[in-house]
C-alpha cells in the first residue's frame, strides 16, 4: 500500500487545489510500480491552509496556480520515487523516460510498462543490459508506434536505434547497473518511439530474491 500526505501553506481555492493534486498524482504516484499489485488503501491527501497569506489563488490558469501545480508535482514525484527506491527487496531505483509519443499520457504508459515488466526487473537485478526485454515491454504497453522508430538507451549506453540492435559495450552497460546496485542508486532507461511531443516518466525497482522471501513470510 502507498499512502501520502501533502501539506501546503498557500491560500488556494478547492477548484484549483483539487485538480492540481489529481494532475500531480497522475505524473507521480500513479507512475510507480513495485510488483503490479494495486492496493485496497492507496490514498494521497492534500491539505492547503493559506497560512502563507496573500490573495487566494482561484484561477487554475493563472501563473501562480501553474507554478504551484508544478511544485506540487515535483514534490510528489520525489516522494513517489522514494517508494520505488525502497521497493521490497530492491537494490536499485529504475527510472524510465519515454519520448516521442503522441501525448504525455501515451509516453507514461510506455514508461510504466517498461518499469513494471518482471523480465526487465529481473534483468536489472542480474545486471543484464537486456534491450530485447525493454523493447518487448514497451511494445505491449497498448500504445501504437512503429518498430523502426524505436531507440533505447541504458544510462549513457545506446542499445537500439531505428529499431535495430546496436553493437554496444555490454560489459560497460552491465558495470553501470552493478555500480548503481552497489550504491542503491538509480538506473535510467530511455525509450524513444517516434517524433511526437509526448514525454513521460515512470519509476520502479529491480526484482530480487528478497521480494519473494518478504512476501512469503508476510501473511495477509
Amino acid at each position: 500500500t502507498m499512502l501520502g500526505v501533502v501539506t501546503c501553506d498557500a491560500p488556494v481555492a478547492a477548484a484549483v487545489w483539487r485538480p492540481a493534486l489529481a494532475a500531480a498524482c497522475a505524473a507521480s504516484f500513479n507512475q510507480i510500480t513495485v510488483d503490479g499489485d494495486t492496493s485496497t488503501n492507496d490514498t494521497v491527501l492534500g491539505l492547503a491552509n493559506g497560512a502563507a497569506g496573500g490573495a487566494a489563488i482561484g484561477d487554475p490558469n493563472s501563473p501562480e496556480a501553474r507554478a504551484l501545480g508544478a511544485a506540487l508535482t515535483v514534490l510528489l514525484q520525489g516522494l513517489a520515487k522514494s517508494i520505488a527506491w525502497d521497493g521490497e527487496g530492491a537494490t536499485m531505483l529504475l527510472e524510465c523516460t519515454a519520448r516521442g509519443a503522441r501525448s504525455d499520457a501515451d509516453a507514461r504508459r510506455v514508461a510504466r510498462s517498461v518499469v513494471g515488466s518482471s523480465l526487465v526487473k529481473s534483468a536489472m537485478f542480474g545486471h543484464d543490459p537486456n534491450w530485447g526485454r525493454i523493447a518487448a515491454a514497451a511494445g505491449y504497453s497498448g500504445v501504437d508506434y512503429r518498430q523502426e522508430d524505436v531507440r533505447i538507451s541504458l544510462g549513457d549506453t545506446e542499445l537500439m536505434r531505428g529499431g535495430q540492435p546496436l553493437d554496444f559495450d555490454a560489459a560497460a552497460a552491465s558495470a553501470y547497473m552493478k555500480a548503481a546496485a552497489a550504491a542503491h542508486g538509480t538506473v535510467t532507461i530511455e525509450v524513444s518511439i517516434g517524433d511526437g511531443p509526448g514525454v513521460g516518466q515512470a519509476w520502479g525497482c529491480d526484482l530480487s530474491y528478497d521480494y519473494v522471501k518478504i512476501n512469503a513470510e508476510y501473511t495477509t
Partner: protein, 222 residues
C-alpha cells in the same frame, strides 16, 4: 537522529529507529528544504506507538493537523475492494471543502472488514476530533490505514492513544519525521520531503509531504 532526539524530550512511546530515504525531488525553480509535512506554516504533526502493530514497538499512529481548516483534496485507489478509510474519506471530501487534519494508523489496513471496519474508521476520525477539541461536523478529520488486509484496527487502543498524540503535536522537523516513521509498514526507510517555491516575485509558499510504501505498489488512483 532528529526523531530520536525529539522523541526523548517528547516522552512519547515507541521506536522510531529507521533511516530516512534519500530526497529525490527533481531539480528546478524550487528549493528543497528540511522537513516534511510540518515545513509549511500552520501545520503540526506527531507519531507514537499505540499498540496497534502485531509485532514490535515501532510507532504506528500519526496525526497531521492544520491550525485552521485546510482546503482538502484526495486521490484514491480504484480497487473495488476499497478499504473503509478510503470510503470514508471520499464521503468527507464530497461533503466538505475543508478539513482539520488526518489520522493514520499502521498495522492493519482496515480493508475487507465490512461494516465493523466502517465503524472503526468513523471512530478514529471522531476520536481525533475529540482529542483536538474541534467540532467534527464543521471541521472533520480524514483517516488512512495501512497494514495487514482483513484485520480490524484496535479502535479502543487507537482512541486511547489519540489524546496523548495530540498533546505531543509540534511543528518541528522531528515531529514530521516521527509521523513519517509511524505510517511505515515493511518500509526500510521513512519518506519525507519539503520544498519552497516562489509563485510570483516576493510571494513564497512551502509544500511538505510524507508517504509510505514498499510492496503492493501499483497505484491507480483517481
Amino acid at each position: 537522529s532528529a526523531a530520536s532526539t525529539e522523541q526523548a524530550s517528547a516522552g512519547l512511546p515507541g521506536s522510531f529507529d529507521i533511516p530516512a530515504a534519500p530526497i529525490l525531488i527533481p531539480e528546478g525553480p524550487w528549493k528543497v528544504i528540511e522537513g516534511g509535512v510540518t515545513a509549511p506554516a500552520g501545520f503540526k504533526a506527531q507519531g507514537m506507538y499505540a499498540g496497534l502493530r502485531a509485532k514490535g514497538d515501532k510507532a504506528d499512529l500519526a496525526l497531521v493537523v492544520s491550525d485552521t481548516p485546510a482546503v482538502a483534496a484526495g486521490a484514491f485507489t480504484l480497487n473495488v475492494m476499497a478499504a473503509a478509510p478510503v470510503t470514508l474519506c471520499r464521503e468527507v471530501l464530497a461533503a466538505h471543502e475543508t478539513v482539520r487534519g488526518v489520522v493514520i494508523n499502521a498495522g492493519q489496513a482496515n480493508a475487507a472488514t465490512g461494516a465493523a471496519g466502517d465503524r472503526d474508521a468513523r471512530a478514529a476520525t471522531a476520536a481525533a476530533a475529540d482529542a483536538l477539541g474541534g467540532d467534527e461536523a464543521s471541521d472533520p478529520f480524514l483517516v488512512m490505514s495501512t497494514g495487514v488486509i482483513g484485520r480490524r484496527v484496535d479502535a479502543d487502543a487507537l482512541s486511547a492513544a489519540l489524546p496523548v498524540l495530540a498533546a505531543g503535536l509540534g511543528a518541528g522537523a522531528g515531529h514530521a519525521l516521527r509521523a513519517a516513521v509511524a505510517i511505515t509498514t515493511t518500509d526500510l526507510a521513512s519518506k519525507s520531503a519539503a520544498l519552497e517555491v516562489e509563485l510570483a516575485p516576493g510571494r513564497t509558499v512551502r509544500l511538505g509531504g510524507m508517504c509510505k510504501g514498499s510492496g503492493m505498489i501499483h497505484p491507480n488512483m483517481a
